[in-house]
Symmetry: C2
Subunit: 256 residues, 2 copies
C-alpha cells in the first residue's frame, strides 16, 4: 500500500509567500508524454522540502484549464520529479464576474491577484483612475510572468486549474465609455463607492457581474458619475473604510 | 479660510505597512489638557510626510474608545504636533462577533489582526489546535505591543476608535469545554470546516456570533466533533481552499 500525500499539510519556506500548495498545477511544457510530467524549479523545491514523497507515493495534481487527478511519483531527486498522471475530477466552477480594480501599489496588487484567483474570479481588469499614482503603471509586478506567478499561487491555494484572464486599461475614459458597455451587455454592473447603499443580500449566485472597485484614495465624483451613466449600480460597504484587498473579498462574498 | 486635510489622500512610506490612515487615533497619554494633544513618533511622521498641514489646518482625529472629531493644528515641527481637539461623531457600531482563530504564522497573524480590527470585530481569541505549529506560540508577534500596533493600524484604516479585545487559549480542550460554552450563552456558534454546508445567506446583522476558524492545515475530525458537541453549527466555504485571512473576511461578509 502506498500512501497518498496530502499536499496541504506542510508549509513551504522557500516558496514566494509561504503559501500552502493544495494541488500541483501542471502546464503543457511539463509533459514529456501524454501521461508523464517532469517537474523542476519551484514546484520541485516545494515537493522536496514539504511533501518529501518517495517513489510510489501519490500527489494531487491539476492540469491547467483541465481536471484534477493523481500524480504517482515514479522518480524523485534533487534534479527533477517524474510523475505518472491520471485525471478524474473537474475543477470547481468559476465566479461569473469581471473584477475591475483601479491599479494599486505593487505589494497590494500581488495579494489582490492571488486572492482573486483563489476565489475563482473569471477575469480581472486593472484600470487607471485619478487617484492612482502614475508610477504604479511602471511596476515590474505588471509583467506577464509576475502576474502569472500570483495567479498560479492563487489556483494552487484554492485547488483550481483555470487561470483568470488579466488585462489593463491605462486610460479611464476609454475604459468606461468603450470597454465597460461591452462587458455589461450580458452582465450587471456594480461599482463600490461610499455614496452607495450597503449591499444587504446576495444577488443570487447565477447573476454574471462586472464589479468595479476604486483606488485606496477612492473615486472622484466625476468617475462615479461616469460609472452610473454606463449603467452601474453604486453599492457601499458601510461606514468603515476597507483596504482594497479586504473590499474585494468582502464584496465577492456578499454578492456570490 | 483654513483647509480640512483629508487624511486618506496620501500614502505613508515610513509607516509599518504603507497603510492609509483615515483618522489619527488618540490615546489618554497624548493629552496635555482636556482638549489639547501632543503627538510624536509614528503619527507625527505620518502627518509630516503625507499630510503636511500648516498651523490652522484641521485633521480628522478619534479618541480611543470614544468619538471622532477635528484636530486643529496649533503647532507642527520635526519634534511634535500640537492639536486642539473637539468631538462630534460617534464611532461606527462593532460587529457583534467573537472571532476565534487558530493561531497562524506571524506574518498572517498580523494581517488577520489588522483586518479583523478594520472590519469591526468585537473580540478575537487565538487558540491552539492540532495543526498549529507549537513554535507559533513563541512569536514576538504575540507581544501586547505588537498586537496592539496591528489593531491600531486596522482602526486607523477603517475609521474606528474601539480596540477589539484579544486573548489566547493555548490548550484546545479547556478552550472548547470550558471557555466556548460561556461565550455561547448569548451567541450562536459557527465553525468553518469543509464538511459543512455552504453559507448561502446572511444570518441577519443583529445575531451575535462566535465564529471559529481553523488553522491552514484544517481541523482534525476530533476537533470538529468537539465544536459540534459544544453546539456549534458547521459551515463550509465551497470547494475552494482559502487562506485564513481570506476565509475570515469572506465569512464575516457573508454572516453580517
Amino acid at each position: 500500500m502506498f500512501r497518498i500525500v496530502r499536499v496541504f499539510t506542510g508549509r513551504c519556506g522557500p516558496c514566494p509567500c509561504s503559501f500552502f500548495m493544495n494541488l500541483i498545477l501542471l502546464f503543457s511544457d511539463d509533459f514529456t508524454s501524454a501521461d508523464t510530467v517532469r517537474l523542476t524549479g519551484r514546484r520541485l523545491t516545494h515537493v522536496l522540502e514539504v511533501l518529501k514523497p518517495a517513489a510510489g507515493d501519490t500527489l494531487v495534481v491539476g492540469r491547467e484549464g483541465g481536471p484534477f487527478g493523481q500524480g504517482l511519483v515514479r522518480e524523485i531527486n534533487g534534479r527533477a520529479l517524474t510523475l505518472d498522471v491520471s485525471w478524474n475530477v473537474p475543477p470547481p466552477p468559476k465566479l461569473p464576474v469581471v473584477l475591475c480594480v483601479a491599479l494599486m501599489r505593487p505589494i497590494v496588487l500581488k495579494r489582490v491577484l492571488l486572492t482573486a484567483a483563489s476565489l475563482g474570479v473569471e477575469e480581472i481588469i486593472l484600470f487607471h483612475s485619478r487617484q492612482v499614482e502614475k508610477s504604479f503603471w511602471q511596476s515590474t509586478a505588471l509583467r506577464d510572468d509576475d502576474i502569472r506567478e500570483q495567479l498560479v499561487l492563487g489556483l494552487e491555494q484554492a485547488k483550481d486549474t483555470v487561470l483568470p484572464k488579466v488585462s489593463f486599461q491605462k486610460r479611464f475614459k476609454p475604459f468606461v465609455e468603450d470597454v465597460l458597455p461591452g462587458l455589461m451587455k450580458d452582465r450587471a454592473g456594480i461599482v463600490a463607492d461610499p455614496s452607495g447603499e450597503v449591499v444587504t443580500r446576495p444577488e443570487g449566485a447565477k447573476t454574471p457581474l462586472v464589479l468595479v472597485i476604486g483606488p485606496e484614495g477612492g473615486f472622484i465624483p466625476y468617475e462615479v458619475e461616469k460609472f452610473k451613466a454606463a449603467g452601474c449600480r453604486v453599492v457601499g460597504l458601510g461606514p468603515r473604510i476597507l483596504k482594497v484587498e479586504t473590499a474585494v473579498v468582502s464584496l465577492l462574498a456578499k454578492l456570490f
